[in-house]
């Protein structure tokens, strides 16, 4: 394969994303802390639902992973705004790189980092909180890949929709909370009000949690994962389509506030 500008841009973006320890702490340690705090509560909820051997990890680990993973949307999105603010976005456009090279170079490391976060949180959470899965947790890796793709595609679509960083912050954080609340990340979907249960399939987190529940609590295998992973992949495609409609490399982004 010909050496092109994608690899250098991807490496550069990885350095930019990993160069700021603040969000990394937020995205790795805060979920673990939250899991630790919330686990006893969720244990009681799960026992109440009939999973008498549950210790709460079965809900808090996937739940808070799907909650915190969407925080990357604002963080990755802000990276695009930072490039505009630094003037480097314009420089990239005048380089040998095509618009596609630039976008691919920027989202590929983001995808890898999100996938790494999901995998690490799951692994560390499982060890720390003594997760006893009834089914093969390795099958959830497919869900993790689809979820990471979903997060990245959603980020690009959102960045394409907004011009100001404050718009990104407001819309991004609002949707993170909506996804978490409706998707069963904060409380099991079964405990949502009827209207909440009715619309919860409309958010990607729901499908990730559904797959996790099928495997971890209900002991199902790969066959139970394909469906939710497929829906997540469709979400990712829909977001990618929206991104193609809205994202313009030449559109100026303004950091305000």
């Amino acid at each position: 394969m010909a050496a092109g500008p994608v690899a250098p841009i991807a490496r550069q973006n990885a350095r930019l994303l990993l160069g700021n320890p603040g969000p990394l702490v937020l995205f790795f340690f805060t979920p673990l802390l939250t899991m630790a705090v919330m686990r006893p509560t969720f244990q009681r909820v799960l026992v109440g639902q009939g999973f008498t051997n549950a210790n709460g990890a079965e809900q808090v680990i996937p739940g808070f992973i799907t909650f915190f993973v969407f925080f990357w949307v604002v963080f990755i999105g802000r990276n695009f705004f930072a490039e505009h603010g630094w003037g480097t976005w314009q420089r990239l456009q005048t380089s040998f790189a095509s618009p596609a090279d630039i976008v691919i170079g920027k989202i590929f490391p983001a995808f890898c980092i999100v996938l790494l976060q999901v995998t690490l949180l799951f692994a560390i959470g499982a060890v720390l909180f003594d997760l006893d899965s009834a089914g093969p947790v390795a099958s959830l890796l497919i869900v993790g890949v689809a979820l990471a793709a979903c997060v990245v595609a959603f980020t690009i679509a959102l960045v394409g929709l907004v011009r100001l960083s404050v718009q990104l912050d407001a819309l991004g954080n609002l949707l993170v909370m909506v996804f978490a609340a409706l998707g069963g990340a904060l409380v099991p979907v079964a405990l949502l009000p009827a209207w909440g249960r009715a619309i919860s399939p409309a958010v990607p987190s729901y499908w990730a949690n559904k797959a996790a529940r099928s495997v971890i609590l209900e002991g199902q295998g790969l066959s139970a994962v394909w469906g939710p992973a497929g829906v997540l992949a469709l979400f990712a495609l829909a977001f990618a389509f929206l991104a193609m409609m809205t994202f313009r490399v030449s559109q100026a982004k303004v950091t305000a506030g």
Binding site: M1, A2, A3, G4, P5, P8, I9, Q12, R15, L16, G19, N20, W86, G87, T88, W89, Q90, R91, L92, Q93, T94, S95, F96, A97, S98, S250
Partner: protein
């Protein structure tokens, strides 16, 4: 489809030309296209050349025993090549020549031949063409050819009335010992007007001028490099011809010389317009910049300079018109065009959270530089712009001038054929400014075309650049500084009064303009005119505050053409000097008087004050 060409410079297959229209594997036993003969140090399939979908020429070593080298650097992975790159495989040397454009003859005509020593032909082991000398046009000297390579290396051959090369040629033209010379290989003849022409005589291996095989007789110029067989010759002592002079063409004006450069047009903008809704920003810009030429693009804020630069860089589409860089259309083949281009936009574009070295390395990497070549280019730019001591410092904590140097350096790493610098010295201190100017001058001397946009007119003079003045979306004047001054400005006397300037008949010839308290008289003899006018002022002489001789300068030309402040005849704008637009972002200090007087005025950081000093002082 454009097509890269590999020319075999030496080795058993010397003289062959390999097209990269399709992937080519080269080696001892490669396919017919890439068979390089019985070179014992070549592997059977040594390396692979290809041209990717975006027009990049790419080289990969195929696990050869002795390795593949680009410009002396070992190829460790797939590597993008640049025009002029020299590739060594075994005992064979190849050189990559720039792609010929569709429909163009592969052996291009003189008008598009690259200059010797420029990037397109920048072969490291060949001496670059000598930098242009500041000598009067028309000077002739004893033309001679220095043998730079081949069996006769070190010899000097007089051209005199002409010379023929070949094994059967008489005298020094025989180049004894060169096995690749045909019986009658090539000749140089002198035309009736004294010009020298190089002609191939149907040789087997061809005759090359500055790296390009010539299809027909070509005019020669000082510094040209000629290859016949294994012999490389460099021509010197040739009179500079008008065609060899740098030129720019603006808005239908004839070409004007500014500085010596090669024939090759690098940037060509034809009828470029840009319109935002009903608002025209560019209304038909024509501009040519040739290899080795610097053109200072001047114009007031809002004149369209940055818009023009953005169109050249492919950031903005032109509403109409066409821009090519090295004959590559920037809209049709933007990636390929950008390979020829280095641009430092007006706004800084650096990664503040990363070190100076990392910033340079990254932009080198996305320009296709790798490995030791990348490191050497980073070191080279660091040295040229005094960034080396700052390499490990985060860009965020650099001073404004240091950031500006880094910003400019990032555009130069890949040795682009065309360099666009949009106000590169804004906010820079004197040292930074000088370093940037020195570097730009050096790059032009190496054969790069430079478009230098600025508000600081002395920089244009320091660079010895040609000038194109952009105003209200079109180029209103172009040429060398001397020509513009001769064409658009003249000496003048300026009288300043307490209160309104009198409407008295001054009894002198010349263009007289009145503006508030000032009378300006354009005249060829300002001293005599001043004496005559003062004598005729009568009672008004009591109100006379100053008499000033105004020497013509680029400043006054610029103001004449853009501000129309001293337009001849008619009424003048009701404004005084202090109301002129200030130079944006400059610190307090003494600067050339914006009114064009041969004087300095004080800028207090916010506005011009009344403090005036003569330049001599």
């Amino acid at each position: 489809m454009s097509e890269w060409l590999l020319r075999v410079l030496d080795g058993p297959a010397a003289g062959n030309v390999i097209s990269l229209e399709h992937e080519v594997r080269v080696g001892r036993a490669a396919s017919s296209d890439g068979r390089l003969g019985e070179d014992p140090e070549l592997s059977r399939e040594h390396a692979r050349f290809s041209c990717d979908a975006d027009g990049f020429a790419v080289l990969e070593d195929l696990g050869s025993t002795n390795g593949t080298f680009v410009n002396g650097e070992l190829v460790e992975s797939a590597q993008i090549l640049h025009a002029g790159d020299r590739i060594n495989l075994g005992n064979t040397t190849l050189q990559l020549d720039a792609p010929a454009t569709q429909g163009a003859d592969r052996t291009v005509l003189r008008d598009s031949l690259p200059a010797a020593g420029g990037e397109e032909t920048g072969r490291p082991d060949r001496p670059a063409a000598r930098p242009p000398q500041d000598e009067p046009s028309g000077r002739t000297g004893p033309e001679s050819l220095s043998v730079l390579r081949g069996p006769a290396h070190g010899a000097t051959i007089a051209v005199e009335g002409g010379i023929e090369f070949g094994r059967e040629a008489a005298g020094s033209g025989a180049l004894t010992g060169d096995p690749e010379l045909s019986r009658r290989h090539a000749r140089i003849t002198r035309t009736a007007d004294g010009a020298l022409l190089l002609e191939d005589l149907g040789s087997t291996n061809g005759t090359y001028l500055n790296g390009w095989r010539i299809p027909s007789p070509q005019a020669l110029a000082d510094g040209d490099q000629i290859e016949v067989g294994q012999t490389l010759l460099e021509l010197s002592g040739v009179a500079r011809s008008a065609a060899r002079e740098a030129s720019i063409v603006g808005s239908g004006q004839k070409r004007v010389s500014a500085q010596p450069s090669s024939e090759k047009t690098v940037l060509r903008a034809e009828g470029v317009t840009k319109q935002y809704g009903d608002r025209p920003v560019l209304t038909g810009v024509d501009l040519e910049i040739r290899a080795g030429e610097i053109v200072g693009l001047l114009g007031p804020n809002g004149a369209g300079k940055t818009t023009f630069a953005s169109i050249v860089a492919g950031l903005l589409p032109a509403t109409s018109g066409r821009v090519t860089i090295n004959e590559i259309d920037v809209r049709q083949r933007p990636r390929l065009a950008r390979r020829q281009l280095g641009i430092a936009p007006q706004d800084l574009g650096i990664y503040p959270t990363q070190t100076v070295r990392r910033n340079l390395q990254f932009f080198g990497e996305i320009s296709g530089l790798r490995g030791r070549l990348l490191r050497s280019r980073v070191d080279e730019i660091g040295e040229a712009l005094s960034l080396t001591p700052l390499f490990e410092r985060k860009a965020a904590i650099l001073s404004g001038g240091q950031k500006r140097r880094l910003h400019a350096g990032m555009a130069m790493l890949h040795h682009p054929a065309m360099l666009i610098l949009d106000e590169p010295t804004v906010g820079a201190d004197i040292r930074t400014r000088q370093e940037i100017l020195d570097t730009v001058r050096r790059l032009a001397d190496e054969g790069r075309a430079v478009c230098y946009s600025t508000h600081y007119l002395p920089e244009i003079e320091a660079l010895g650049a040609a000038v194109a003045i952009l105003d209200a979306g079109r180029i209103v004047a172009s040429g060398s500084i001397a020509e513009l001054i001769a064409r658009h400005s003249s000496p003048a006397v300026e009288l300043t009064f307490a209160g309104e300037a009198p409407a008295t008949d001054l009894g002198v010839r010349g263009e007289i303009t009145r503006e508030g308290s000032t009378i300006r008289i354009a005249t060829d003899d300002p001293a005599a005119t001043a004496a005559a006018v003062v004598a005729r002022l009568g009672a008004h002489a009591a109100r006379l505050r100053s008499v000033e001789i105004v020497s013509p300068s680029l400043d006054s030309v610029y103001l004449t053409l853009t501000e129309r402040r001293y337009a001849s005849g008619g009424s003048l704008p009701d404004a005084d000097v202090s109301a002129l637009p200030p130079p944006m972002g400059v610190p307090a200090g003494w600067y050339p008087d914006p009114a064009g007087r041969d004087a300095l005025r004080f800028w207090d950081g916010q506005s011009w004050t009344d403090r005036i000093a003569s330049r001599a002082a």
